[in-house]
Symmetry: D2
């Protein structure tokens, strides 16, 4: 349960983007910030941690990029589409790289935390692409 939709509906000004697309993207970003922090930690808890180096790094990068993108999209008062666009593009890249790596570990090593994290990354990647297309990119 999150308050993202209620916060957007209570915004006193005009929202620059389609509200449903924006709420989904904001929720997906903060959810993915969490999943990726948790997955980096779960990777570290695996016995063969030396095989998880790339996954840990992709997760840490993705967690930070998602947090920043979620914050930028939460700021509507002086919304700047060039800023949103560049941040969303970085977020698509981060989510895609992380999902690819996590899907590999889910498939080849049957790692459940990577399977869940990949779902969260793919949801966020999709939401960012949808938001980018409403920005006219």
């Amino acid at each position: 349960m999150t308050h993202a939709r209620e916060m957007l509906e209570a915004y006193p000004g005009r929202v620059a983007l389609d509200a449903a697309t924006l709420v989904e993207c904001i929720e997906a970003c903060f959810d993915c910030e969490q999943s990726c922090s948790a997955c980096a930690d779960a990777d570290l808890g695996e016995e063969e941690v030396s095989q998880m180096r790339r996954c840990i790094t992709m997760c840490l990068n993705c967690s930070d990029v998602c947090a920043t993108t979620g914050r930028i999209l939460s700021r509507q008062t002086e919304f700047e589409s060039a800023m949103a666009r560049a941040s969303l593009q970085a977020c698509v890249e981060a989510c895609w790289l992380c999902a690819e790596e996590c899907e590999y570990h889910a498939r080849e090593m049957n790692m459940e935390h990577c399977r869940v994290c990949a779902q969260s990354c793919r949801r966020c990647e999709r939401a960012c692409r949808d938001t980018l297309s409403t920005l006219g990119v």
Copy 2:
């Protein structure tokens, strides 16, 4: 919708805290990171922005503290209760200060975004207190 519960259930090691309490606290932290970033921005969109200075600052502080606390709690592999405790105590303080300020604006100025943000802060404050008590503080 978030993946916090699924991520915790997929964790390969032993979780140091009661799972339900922890999941609620992690979700509340990331939700509050978002609400507070959005409320600081909505405050900035109010006509009488000069009356919102304290609310903006409490929201920005609370957003940052919640993000950090949510990340620390998401890391279970080398969970350190002294670290969790200090971070949760800072988070209780941040949420309490922000909720008090937002409730004032909700009550006196009928600001809906402050009403929603205060709910999110009170939920997070409560979840942090619950987690602190499972830590034996």
Copy 3:
């Protein structure tokens, strides 16, 4: 005084980029994270805060993007140039937008904190462009 150069020199593996360019970029990112957080707050302390809305928002966005970019560049073990590139491009955008706004307030309203913040943003914008060119973009 920072430890960025010493940290990079102590890195056990091979660094993917030119070390001097990378150190300057990492230092500039964390410095700009700080300047922009401080400038958003100083804007809020100005009497005519209603004229500072855009400056506050550009500063908050820039602070978050710089932190994320500085962290991504600090991670060399599984350095992924596509990720660095997208993050650096978002950082150039954030720094440019923030510097333009701060330079306006420095020039038109003689705001010293905006003058200093713009310097920090321009330094970071330049360092990100330099790092992008070593990445072959």
Copy 4:
């Protein structure tokens, strides 16, 4: 080189704390955010990464806590000493835990990145304690 001192000197209002103590603490926080992100990554690049789990986790926690504390201290307009105090106490804890762990690896395994990171953590721990004492704690 950072702009922290210049930003504080340009602040339009009254600064709540001793300026020299505050500048050193802000600089130490952002420096330590960087050192700890870099050390977590360098740990991951070590051959015996399975022995670095605790160091990675302490570094990730410390990096996040330092960033949040540095941001809170950079906000002077509605400075709230109870918030600063709780954040500084969490930062002392994070820096102490991380320095202890890094000093162990520096001493026992001759890891240079841990030696540098521990210096950065000890500097930040000291600066936070000094700031706490000016707050009357």
